[in-house]
């Protein structure tokens, strides 16, 4: 008798599509199990009752029709789904990929917005730059401004001062820097008024070199803000600045 191929154990990986419902006439005169009565209502007596409910024949289970949810390529049950499978998969992955990219970008935007809210506020940032009207500063004069909590020296240099500073020999300087490297427009020298020795504020138009003199420990700076005499090691710091137009100076 042919037994279900499934029971062949290790030796039968090759299962063929046979469903076995075997009827055989082995014993003579075998009586049928059902009574030979007419007009009997045959109801499927459920043999498997469980606390959850009654299970009817599994062949009565009807898989619902999902045509409304299917993609157009697979609505026809008489067409193999293999042909369109690559296209459908590519579409799904493309859509998912694109959405992921957009989603990541959106997430990044939200996160940076929240994080950047913790950075400097506008009023603080406003203090980071200073705009100065240059026409108000006469020649030879040094004006001090408060910028980022430090004194800022803006000096309108005379021709004589410019010539002197440009003529200075590098070998004389402790911190060699040519005047050209410290200014954008030689007429204006803009430096931070913080002595590079220990941080005091130098006095303008003082000292032996026609520049600045720091009274704390006696550092002499020239009209380019370079250290000439005294304990300070470096020249006065030149901040970042631009001249947006003839008359204006923007520092920071």
């Amino acid at each position: 008798m042919m037994s279900m191929a499934a029971r062949s154990g290790a030796l039968a990986p090759y299962l063929h599509s046979t469903k076995h419902a075997v009827k055989s006439l082995v014993k003579p005169g075998a009586k049928d199990l059902a009574p030979a009565a007419e007009n009997v209502e045959y109801s499927l007596v459920p043999a498997h009752q469980s606390p959850g409910g009654i299970r009817l024949a599994h062949t009565d289970i009807k898989i619902p029709d999902f045509t409304d949810y299917r993609r157009p390529e697979v609505t026809d049950p008489n067409k193999s789904s293999q042909d369109s499978s690559d296209a459908r998969r590519s579409f799904s992955y493309l859509f998912t990929g694109a959405t992921t990219v957009v989603g990541v970008y959106a997430a990044k935007t939200v996160v940076t917005q929240f994080l950047s809210s913790m950075s400097a506020t506008a009023d603080v940032l406003a203090l980071s730059q200073i705009e100065i009207k240059l026409s108000e500063i006469p020649e030879g004069k040094n004006i001090t401004f408060k910028w980022r909590g430090k004194p800022l020296f803006v000096r309108h240099r005379t021709e004589k001062e410019i010539a002197t500073e440009e003529g200075v020999n590098m070998s004389e300087l402790r911190d060699p820097q040519h005047d050209k490297d410290r200014v954008i427009n030689p007429k204006w020298i803009i430096v931070l008024g913080v002595c590079t020795h220990l941080g005091c504020v130098p006095i303008a138009n003082a000292g032996d070199f026609g520049g600045y003199y720091c009274p704390c420990h006696g550092s002499h700076y020239d009209a380019s803000g370079r250290i000439r005499k005294g304990p300070a090691p470096l020249n006065l710091e030149v901040p970042y600045y631009v001249f947006p137009d003839e008359d204006t100076l923007l520092v920071g």
Binding site: M2, T18, H20, A21, G29, Y42, A47, T59, N78
Partner: protein, 478 residues
């Protein structure tokens, strides 16, 4: 030497001498074993003849004293519609209830007096009626088979009686959870198509099928070009052809209204169905992808791939030394009670899958490792795995043909699927041609990143969500 063999049995000796089987020549005194290579070459050729009406007659003469002869028909639940699903199955019940020439008792008496076994089965694409009998009773057997198939009496009273039997069988099959699970797998995988229908049919049809439905079914599907009269054992092909001519020449080959039933392709849908019942002790789960058709060239590598995964149940004694990796894991991690890799192939599609039975707390792990086994096949299967799989497959193919009935069934199904019998030597050559690269490529083609169909019966709460199972069909590392 020949004389000593002939002493074994006059019939056997005569038959062997007649066919001049190489098996005879290689027998040594006292030894009856044959090597694998010899059994491949020594297998007698299957002879095939086609009658005028298209009916094929095939036989293999093995020299046994018994034989199995039967009729294999290309008819099954796939040819049925929703309204008449279950007709083939019902007809199978009616087949042995009497024919025009032999009413039931007479038929039974004929069969019993020969000491024969008369059986039948119906599957989704094939129906078979066959008889196991002594070789000398072949003519009677063929006559009875022709009666059963061509002139079944289909008497009304019997039909009513058989309704109850069919309904009770439907009820009984609910206890066979493997059947239920695999039926549900087909129902969901091939939903909306003819392959999704079960062979048994719904209970409503069992109650309402009429004699006319059965007659219509016979008229539409029992046609000569779709039939094979197959025999194996101590049969003579010429004799068989003669018998076929005399009994089966009347089988029609024309369809009414030229309505030739053509099988349309069946769409596979990646989907799942869960029949949850926490009162059952074990969960039965099947997961499958669309596989290859019976005649596809990919069949052999897929069979090798399934051999690599293999099967297992609690009765296996190998323990952690079993060769299949999944089986080793099943033992070491106590993953399941049994599993098997299967491949059901039909004429234009198939189902390639793994079926397992496990405790309700092991489902997730077992599913994970089963899909892992698939991923291994697609990506890293090694030379030694493939060699082992090939050997196991060859052994099982040869070992299955251990008797006239499996042999006859093999012949019948082959003729229906392929139009010819594929000899063992050809299977052997095709199996030898499989390389690991081929297994990887072909498995990737069918398994990798494909939507599976899943069916679960029993306490299946732990079965992962479908999207998780779908995600396990590919590896990010690749």
């Amino acid at each position: 030497m020949a004389a000593s063999v002939c002493r074994v049995g006059s019939t056997v000796g005569r038959a062997l001498a007649k066919t001049r089987s190489p098996i005879l020549l290689s027998l040594r005194r006292g030894q009856a074993s044959v090597s694998y290579a010899q059994s491949l070459v020594g297998a007698p050729e299957t002879r095939l003849t086609t009658l005028d009406n298209g009916l094929k007659v095939a036989s293999e003469e093995t020299g046994h004293a018994t034989c199995t002869v039967g009729l294999w028909i290309s008819a099954g639940s796939r040819y049925e519609s929703e309204k008449n699903n279950g007709t083939g199955f019902f007809l199978e019940h009616m087949a042995f209830k009497g024919t025009k020439k032999y009413p039931q008792t007479a038929l039974e008496q004929q069969v019993e007096s020969m000491g024969a076994h008369l059986s039948a089965y119906t599957s989704r694409e094939h129906t078979a009626y066959y008889m196991k009998t002594l070789a000398k009773d072949l003519p009677k057997a063929v006559e009875l088979l022709s009666e059963v198939v061509q002139s079944c009496s289909l008497n009304e009273a019997e039909i009513e009686q058989q309704r109850g039997v069919v309904l009770r069988e439907l009820e009984e099959v609910e206890g066979n959870l493997q059947e239920v699970c695999l039926d549900l797998l087909h129902a969901t995988a091939f939903q909306g198509t003819a392959l999704g229908q079960s062979v048994l049919g719904p209970s409503r049809n069992a109650r309402t099928l009429t004699r006319q439905d059965l007659v219509d079914y016979i008229n539409s599907h029992y046609k000569a070009p779709r039939m094979v009269l197959s025999a194996a054992g101590g049969v003579n092909h010429e004799e068989l052809v003669g018998l076929a001519k005399s009994h089966f020449s009347g089988v029609s080959f024309e369809y009414e209204g030229d309505a030739v039933p053509v099988l349309s392709p069946c769409r596979f849908t990646g989907s799942e169905i869960r029949m949850r019942d926490d009162a059952l002790p074990l969960a039965h789960i099947a997961v499958a992808v669309e596989g290859a058709s019976a005649a596809s060239p990919d069949i052999v590598p897929l069979m090798v791939a399934n051999s690599i995964i293999g099967s297992y149940d609690l009765t296996y004694g190998g323990g952690k030394h079993l060769s299949s990796r999944l089986a080793r894991l099943a033992v070491e991690e106590n993953l399941c009670h049994s599993f098997q890799a299967f491949h059901s192939s039909y004429s234009d599609t198939g189902l390639l899958g793994i079926y397992f039975v496990c405790d309700k707390h092991q489902i997730e792990d077992m599913m994970h490792w089963s899909q892992n086994a698939w991923m291994n096949l697609c990506t890293t299967v090694t030379e030694s795995d493939v060699a082992r799989g090939k050997n196991a497959l060859k052994a099982s193919l040869v070992g299955q043909l251990n008797g006239t009935t499996p042999l006859c069934d093999d012949i019948g199904r082959h003729i229906l699927n392929y139009g010819r019998r594929i000899p063992l030597a050809e299977w052997d050559a095709r199996i030898d041609a499989v390389t690991p690269r081929m297994v990887r490529d072909i498995c990737s083609k069918y398994i990798y990143d494909k939507c599976p169909a899943v069916a679960a019966v029993g306490p299946c709460e732990q079965l992962p969500d479908y999207n998780r199972m779908r995600s396990a069909m590919y590896w990010l590392r690749f």
